[in-house]
Amino acid sequence: MLADTLLNVIVLIAGPVIIAFLGAIFGLLYLGVDRKLVAHMQGRIGPPIVQPFRDVDKLMVKESIIPDSAIAWLFKATPILCLVGSISLLLYIPLFGQNAMLTGFGDAIVVMYLLTIPSLALVVAGFSSSSPYATVGAQREMVMMMSYEFPLAMSIVVIAWRIGLVTNLNPFMLSTMAAYPIWGLVGPLGIVGLLILVFSMLIVTPGELGKIPFDVAEAETELAGGLLVEYSGRNLALFYISNAIKSFAVVSLVVAIFFPYNLSPILGITATVPAVILDVLFFLLKVFVIMFICVIVVRAAVARFKIDQASKFYLLIMSAVSLVGFVFILLDVII
């Protein structure tokens, strides 16, 4: 009895720590892969894959300067807030083919709210720096946040609605989405609609992650490093890690919604250990594929948008696209 409670407590404490740790490691690893591949696409050799670890390692040793003009406590608090936001995001998303750490406590709506926390932390960081570049960067980040929210919400809600037609479970739970993979529920028209929704999610992802072409908030040439212009040392490292974790989490979210399949049931492997290993590897592969399509290729192939172009793109075009996806799925249900 006591042992059980103790175990629960240990799991509750150790679990998030382990997940945060794994999230950070894989996030940084994917960042390294990203940099390496982009370099290759640009005709360069590029840094080794472990480079992000080295960067973080180095930043930890550096002095953390707090500028005189900054609001000190806010300036110091935002990196932690950003990291905590990213980690709690991880806890709600199914990772490595397993259920999410906090399954049952929150659903896709919670995830959508949590998604904004790191961005909000960045915005506050930008404003607290009191540098004109950071302020403009913060304004841009806010505009971006508002712009990509609709297509994102649209995709999640439509899928949850569709799943809700076939089950009594809460369709917004990511575990429900995993239990009822959406692709099996719809007819040909629905497949078309889903493809459209997948497309819009893939386009939202680089915006969510602040990558080219939607890295307007941090546009190096326009805003001298953007939001984080005043950050250095450990504080910068925390942002660096949370960014890596967030990338990992967002891509995992796409995987969880659209591709919740595991290999082990399909191949009929029942033994726990091989099944888990297989699922973990398959999950990492899925994450890599999504990351490759929506971050790496796009980054190597296009220029940065202007803020109004990026915002219009999301607000008008991507919203319209996701609506079209919705209509297809709706038609599929009606017919």
């Binding site: 370099a39 360069r44 840094p47 080794p48 480079q51 080295r54 002095e63 490093g225």
Partner: protein, 144 residues
């Protein structure tokens, strides 16, 4: 942690204090495919706060001198300063003027001098390497 911290993870901030662009384009050239400094983990960053190494070119005009000083202060410790090009090292053809406060080592402490007019990318890479070695030393001492 720490021992190998600076190995292969140098972030570089470049400051032009009145140079003729010759060295500046060679610094850029060192980042591009033929020389590709990023394979050693060296990246050009947009803010001095993110930097480990300050690359300074030019003989420092009066107007740029206080800025150079301030940018130097903004770089978090531990840091290295590299002077790229002869005019930053000792003035070169610009060695007498009413509007110069240079060379660079008159304003801020300099760790590595890379002469040349303009410096070749190979020389810049070697200079950054020297800065590495120097940067490693105090870190090692601090850790052990």
């Amino acid at each position: 942690m720490g021992l190998k911290s600076f190995k292969r993870a140098l972030w570089v901030y470049h400051l032009n204090t009145g140079s003729c662009n010759g060295c500046d384009i060679e610094i850029l050239a060192a980042l591009t495919p033929r020389y590709d400094l990023e394979r050693f983990g060296i990246v050009l960053v947009g803010s001095p706060r993110h930097a480990d190494v300050l690359l300074v070119t030019g003989p420092v005009t009066n107007q740029m001198a206080p800025r150079l000083k301030r940018i130097y202060d903004q770089v978090p410790e531990p840091k290295m300063v590299l002077v790229i090009g002869n005019c930053g090292v000792e003035g070169l053809v610009f060695h007498e003027s009413y509007n110069l406060s240079g060379p660079v080592d008159q304003i801020i402490p300099v760790d590595v001098y890379v002469p040349g007019c303009p410096t070749r990318p190979e020389a810049i890479i070697e200079g950054v390497l020297k800065a590495w070695l120097k940067l490693e030393k105090p870190v090692k001492e601090k850790v052990t």
